[in-house]
């Protein structure tokens, strides 16, 4: 399995939300639906507060519980990578995958009713481009690449910087990394 990863530098992110807008535009998301979102986390006690911005989306888990519970195979790994896609022609809308994603990263496409989610813009990745959110980010705090390639930018960053992933304790092996 080729592992693609997204690496986001929380020291640079300003929480502008352009990644969200880029995604909506690129993927022509209907009104009111979103595949990514930005969280502002503040911790500490005044005046010693610290804030981090996190651009979140599907983590394209290496152990994707959504893929395992899907009864039809609609939720699947794309071409032996960790990119998790939903084939709308196979999805029944049973919503088991939604209940089994610890990140609540899935949504129900309106008005059709099949389940939808972040695709890591596989249609761009196929052409050697970055996902829309990554290529739009005005602060260049997002990186995308192949984790198994030690020379890739994402691998280098994860080797040289401190990072965290979200809800690692679920065992889902998420592939969106946050540099701290």
């Amino acid at each position: 399995m080729t592992r693609y990863a997204m690496v986001i530098d929380m020291r640079i992110c300003v929480g502008c939300g352009d990644c969200v807008t880029a995604c909506k535009t690129e993927n022509q998301m209907p009104d009111g639906l979103t595949r990514d979102w930005v969280v502002e986390r503040t911790s500490g006690v005044y005046p010693n507060l610290s804030t981090e911005f996190r651009s979140e989306r599907c983590n394209h888990c290496s152990h994707a519980t959504c893929v395992y519970v899907c009864p039809t195979g609609a939720s699947h790994y794309w071409r032996d990578t960790n990119i998790v896609l939903v084939d709308e022609g196979m999805c029944t809308g049973c919503k088991a995958c939604i209940a089994s994603c610890p990140y609540d990263a899935r949504l129900i496409m309106h008005p059709e009713g099949y389940v939808d989610k972040c695709t890591f813009c596989h249609h761009r990745v196929e052409k050697g481009l970055d996902p829309a959110c990554v290529s739009t980010c005005p602060t260049h705090c997002m990186y995308f690449g192949v984790l198994d390639d030690p020379a890739s930018k994402v691998s280098t960053l994860l080797r040289t910087r401190n990072y965290k992933t979200l809800l690692q304790e679920t065992g889902n092996q998420p592939n969106v990394y946050y540099l701290t």
């Binding site: 979103t34 503040t42 911790s43 039809t72 029944t92 939604i98 089994s100 129900i108």
Partner: protein
């Protein structure tokens, strides 16, 4: 202090701020599936222990309802699908890692088992209908064969009934991102509840005093086990991980406390338990329609309440969620 706020809009319908992906359809299916499992189980066990004549309603009459109840349940499940014209996709794949896939195939196998079970006592239970069936050569053959093999058919029914009863709980249990469901007690609780609701239906429907008494005794025991299991469920979750602790808080003072303890536990378990105890002591026979009615309501409430709590319990909790309703104020 830790505060997590969404700075962009995340208000995907039915996902945010808490899941509300399933409403009444799935609980109705879980309830009717359980009922079917319970009827299949008792009808088969009574045949195997040569008690068929003692419990004619269960083994000869009620057994016909298995296919009807199961079909209504599957109809409810179909209504729940949000991309429903692709329902045939359940049957173009078998996914061994998906409990729902197992379930949909098991349902297909259960139908013929139910039909054989129905036919094996059809002449006694529904003589008029049986005579109609006998007008066809195949009908006579089917009736004769399933009567002859009544015991083997019952043997096959038992594992399928238990499987179906447990499956209704496993379905929720294996959705790993909803901490309230992630306890092994749940499938057992659903199974016992399934058996209890089937006995309740027998108590309600039978005109045979002996049969009513037998099923009241059985049901009394089953409710006692259920009460025990509910406490085990709470203990099990309370000994769990952080998210499980948060989920059990929902019924220990949280927003589902009343629904769980008053609606489900009191109405669905305690009251019928006390009513049936009185009846078994010979104190109040007048209440015998009430107890099974409460059991049936409780059986449904168990599924509905447990499902809602599970959907509410989650791994990702933003302390400060965007409230899409505020947008309405702008218009």
């Amino acid at each position: 202090m830790i505060e997590e706020v969404l700075v962009t809009l995340k208000a995907n319908p039915k996902i945010d701020p808490v899941l509300s992906t399933w409403s009444w359809e799935v609980p109705v299916y879980l309830f009717l599936g359980g009922l079917t499992a319970g009827i299949m189980f008792f009808a088969a066990i009574m045949v195997l222990t040569n008690r068929q004549r003692e419990v004619p309603f269960m083994t000869e009459k009620l057994v016909l309802w298995t296919v009807i109840l199961l079909s209504i349940g599957m109809g409810a499940l179909f209504l729940d699908l949000s991309h429903r014209w692709y329902v045939y996709r359940f049957y173009t794949a078998f996914r061994p890692t998906s409990p729902m896939s197992w379930g949909s195939w098991i349902l297909i196998i259960i139908y013929p088992v139910c039909i054989l079970q129905i036919l094996s006592t059809f002449r006694q239970g529904y003589p008029k209908l049986a005579r109609r069936l006998e007008r066809f050569g195949v009908g006579v053959l089917a009736l004769d064969l399933s009567e002859r093999f009544r015991r083997p058919v019952a043997w096959v029914s038992v594992p399928f009934a238990l499987g179906l009863g447990i499956y209704t709980g496993v379905l929720l249990n294996t959705l790993v991102a909803r901490p309230f469901w992630n306890t092994g007690i749940l499938p057992i609780l659903f199974l016992v509840s399934a058996l209890s609701t089937a006995s309740a239906l027998a108590i309600l429907g039978t005109s045979d005093k002996g049969e009513r008494h037998l099923f009241t005794r059985i049901d009394f025991g089953l409710i006692a086990v259920e009460i025990l299991l509910v406490f085990l469920l709470v203990i099990d979750l309370s000994a769990g991980s952080e998210v499980q602790l948060a989920s059990v808080d929902l019924i220990l003072g949280g927003r589902y406390t009343v629904a769980f303890w008053i609606l489900f536990f009191s109405v669905g378990l305690l009251i019928p338990f006390l009513l049936e105890a009185r009846e078994l002591l010979g104190k109040s026979a007048a209440a015998f329609y009430m107890a099974p009615l409460f059991v049936l309501i409780g059986g449904y409430l168990l599924r509905q309440v447990v499902m809602n709590i599970g959907l509410h319990s989650s791994w990702s909790n933003y302390a400060n969620q965007f409230d899409p309703q505020l947008l309405e104020l702008l218009h």
